[in-house]
Subunit: 318 residues, 2 copies
């Protein structure tokens, strides 16, 4: 079935990006002589931690609702997430005139609950675990008046996330490589599509925590492998790929690089200390990949996606 | 004697700013809908935490060495500092072909020692306290081959720091107010001079930790008051004004606002969490002042100087 999927086209990405631009920030691209010296590469950091809600997820959720608004009369949406997608869907719903309901485990931290409430999202708590969550989602689905917006396994979400790399390409001279972290693969598949369409000589690497290398295994086997459940510090990446994201990634991504937890924390710390940017562990994963495999990047023009900055400053890993 | 001092002129500031621009970053100005909503003002944050060495001090030190290079054959400089001025003088010396020696108490944290070494500065340790420090400085002075570069009590330093506000004015539409923290007064006096010359209708406030309100007392009495020794979390501001900085500040600053330690930490945390910017406590002081006295800023266009981002991420106050 994988082969039969049609990927989002260049035209669709261009059109949605243009429409999206009134709802999200065109985030800045910054450089760092510290990291350039360290790697021997020229790095261009795309700052999605400065995006609305503090992460690129705002793009996908907004495109999904723009699409829904055009093609359906339904104005209620729901999802499950305790992370950035929850905040993104809540704010996108507010901006586009939807009502959003977020299913979250009851032990979700108060910071995250408050963030969703602050953006106007409704919260429905459920017991911890997959079964309880699915039961709660089925309950909402059974009401028949709202649409599910998945965190990554959706063409509109992929189109939204693809606009990060599209902008990065527009904001820089010719890039040799773009590096992005990979969790569910929404960002990485979108990134690789934008590189393919808008800068075809640019190759794309994904980077994943080696502690739970399901994307690496999926990429190499061609079959979606499930996460092991071992929890990386990069919370946002604790997700398996889907058939949809894997098929794009197998087609357009050069390789998946693996990094240790220590390498993630070290990269995060260096970004904070030297670049003065607050980034979350998931965002540091891409930088950790560049520091771990310098031979792949030396002398090259390298785009890096800093995916988000939502981190509990009371619970830092250093 | 205060009345007799001639302040740096507009022409000198313009000329030095132009020459300085090849050595330092023209740092970005960013906005925040979060803080705008919170204050009812339009805030423009000048990001000197993104300056070389992570703080505005780079400007003053560089201008001091540019001036020295033009007017003296001596190529050795020294100062005392365990903070940003130490790093600034070290890097400025490297860029301009000087040799810098920094006197520091022997209990200075390794992070700060390493930073100075990393920029190529020589370190001379001394015992803790004013007497030991002055003795060590006198020893270096007695060698007769190097020039002392003070952290703030110097026209060239003031000229250098004045370029922060000059740029901020250039990078924004008409500002009603500029807010800067005050320690020794190098930044605040330079800021008020730039407002006076380049945007004469813009008023300037200084903000100081109330726990050691020496600048406030100096401003109101007209006499330089010494710091009490009670240590604010805003390390960079643990300094008294000088006659030189006080005279400028009395002439061109509207008022000095006071904020508590709690207000400083709260402002710092909000800047980290909502703006995703790493700033040091001293930088949060100006923002704390705006949050503490919203009636002074509501409805206005307000420039704020984020002075630096050098903070030990292992010892955060939250």
């Amino acid at each position: 079935m994988v082969e039969a999927m049609a990927f989002p086209t260049m035209e669709v990405i261009e059109s949605m990006h243009q429409q999206l631009s009134r709802y999200v920030h065109r985030t800045p691209v910054v450089t760092s002589s510290y990291f350039d010296d360290l790697t021997g590469a020229h790095l261009y950091f795309k700052c999605e931690q400065l995006q609305k809600i503090g992460a690129f997820k705002m793009r996908g959720a907004t495109v999904a609702l723009m699409h829904l608004k055009k093609h359906s009369p339904i104005r209620k949406v729901y999802t499950h997430s305790s992370g950035n997608h929850a905040q993104a869907l809540s704010l996108a719903a507010k901006l586009l005139g939807f009502e959003a309901t977020i299913v979250m485990p009851h032990n979700t931290s108060k910071v995250k609950v408050d963030a969703v409430k602050g953006y106007g999202g409704n919260i429905v708590f459920c017991e911890v675990g997959y079964v309880a969550r699915e039961a709660k989602l089925a309950e909402i689905a059974a009401q028949g008046d709202s649409v599910f917006v998945p965190p990554f396994d959706d063409d509109q979400i992929i189109i939204g996330q693809s606009t990060v790399a599209k902008e990065l390409i527009e904001q820089t001279e010719k890039l040799d490589v773009i590096v992005a972290p990979v969790g569910g693969g929404g960002l990485l598949s979108g990134t690789s599509l934008s590189a393919h369409y808008f800068s075809p000589d640019t190759i794309v690497y994904g980077v994943e925590p080696s502690i739970d290398n399901d994307a690496w295994k999926s990429f190499n086997s061609g079959q979606v492998q499930q996460v092991s459940g071992v929890e990386t510090i990069a919370e946002g990446l604790r997700t398996s790929l889907s058939e949809r994201t894997l098929s794009v990634i197998r087609e357009h991504v050069a390789d998946i690089l693996l990094v240790t937890e220590e390498e993630i924390v070290s990269a995060m710390r260096q970004i904070w200390e030297r670049m003065k940017l607050v980034v979350e562990p998931s965002a540091a994963v891409a930088v950790a990949g560049i520091l771990r495999y310098p031979e792949l990047f030396r002398g090259k023009e390298v785009g890096v996606i800093l995916t988000g900055g939502n981190v509990d400053v009371e619970k830092l890993p250093f």
